[in-house]
């Protein structure tokens, strides 16, 4: 109890050296901290899904709204599901289902490849988390 009072008094003494403009300056400074964190630390966030079929870009889909894209390939149709901020291969006619089992992709630069059907799904953003991917 006494300690709390002493602490409050100690803080009050230091706060007495703050003027109105100083509080304003501190507020702006904290604002700069938060804003810079928000703008500079969203590097890995993807903003687009690029779907390729047979080596050519089939569709570029914004990751804002949910959507399903059906991509025809040599052995059937690959179904790609897009949700805000992420995308996945929901169904694929390939025998081993590797691209389906990768699940949701949510970081820029991530890729799911359905080789038998020649379809790939990749996410792009301003800055990618990966420089390159090898399989």
């Amino acid at each position: 109890m006494n300690r709390a009072v002493a602490l409050r008094r100690w803080l009050a003494v230091w706060a007495s050296y703050l003027q109105a403009g100083d509080v304003l300056t501190l507020g702006v400074a904290l604002g700069v901290c938060v804003l810079s964190a928000l703008t500079l630390w969203q590097g890995g966030h993807p903003d687009k899904a690029i779907i390729r079929a047979g080596g050519r870009v089939f569709a570029e889909v914004d990751l804002n709204a949910p959507r399903v894209v059906e991509v025809p390939g040599p052995i059937g149709t690959t179904r790609i599901e897009v949700q805000p901020g992420r995308a996945r291969v929901a169904a694929d006619p390939g025998p081993r289902q590797y691209c389906v089992r990768q699940g949701w992709l949510s970081s820029a630069g991530a890729v799911a490849i359905c080789a038998p059907n020649e379809v790939s799904l990749s996410l792009s953003g301003r800055t990618a988390d990966y420089d390159s991917l090898n399989y």
């Binding site: 050296y17 100083d22 400074a29």
Partner: protein, 185 residues
């Protein structure tokens, strides 16, 4: 003894002594601070800036600039950093914050105290350092990834240094008030 004709005699004025005293205090703080372990390179409390702020308020910008630049120079010599990258970072930061302090000292005194000056100078300091780092030391945008951390450090240490400077200045004024009263008796 006749003075030789080649001998140059320097007569330090009272101003020179004062600059030297303040610079010495700032250098001590710089060296002491170097012993504090900190998690990220580039983040330091910058306690020596308390001296710069006090000198700025009491003796003006010119003397504050002398004290700050002497501190950067001698501090780097003592720590073995002279002309190393860290020296140029300190120098840029020091020059940038002096420029900003030169502007901030004209803010209305009624509203803005040493804390504002300290925070603004701290931001100028990291701003200059990050730019030098980006252009020269780490030519990659990855440097900017650390900006929020530096900004937070500038806010916190700017506040702390500013508060200490404000307290020192007000205590100084109080002492003067007392001595003036004594003279009046």
């Amino acid at each position: 003894m006749t003075p030789s004709t080649t001998e140059i005699e320097l007569k330090p004025t009272a101003d020179d002594h004062r600059v030297a005293r303040h610079a010495a205090a700032a250098i001590v703080l710089t060296v002491a601070e170097a012993a504090i372990p900190l998690p990220l390179p580039g983040i330091k409390p910058g306690l020596a800036n308390i001296i710069t702020l006090v000198v700025l308020a009491r003796w003006g910008w010119r003397e504050a600039a002398w004290v700050a630049l002497l501190r950067v120079l001698v501090g780097s010599l003592l720590l073995g950093q002279f002309l190393a990258p860290g020296f140029f970072l300190s120098l840029t930061g020091g020059v940038m914050s002096l420029v900003v302090l030169g502007l901030a000292m004209h803010l209305p005194k009624r509203w803005f105290g040493p804390v504002s000056q300290s925070v603004l100078a701290a931001f100028a300091h990291i701003g200059g350092q990050v730019l030098v780092a980006r252009v020269w030391l780490v030519p990659h945008d990855g440097v900017f990834y650390l900006v929020p951390v530096f900004a937070l450090a500038a806010t916190v240490f700017g506040l702390v240094n500013g508060l200490i400077a404000a307290r020192l200045l007000s205590e100084e004024l109080a002492e003067k008030g007392v001595s003036a009263a004594d003279v009046g008796k």
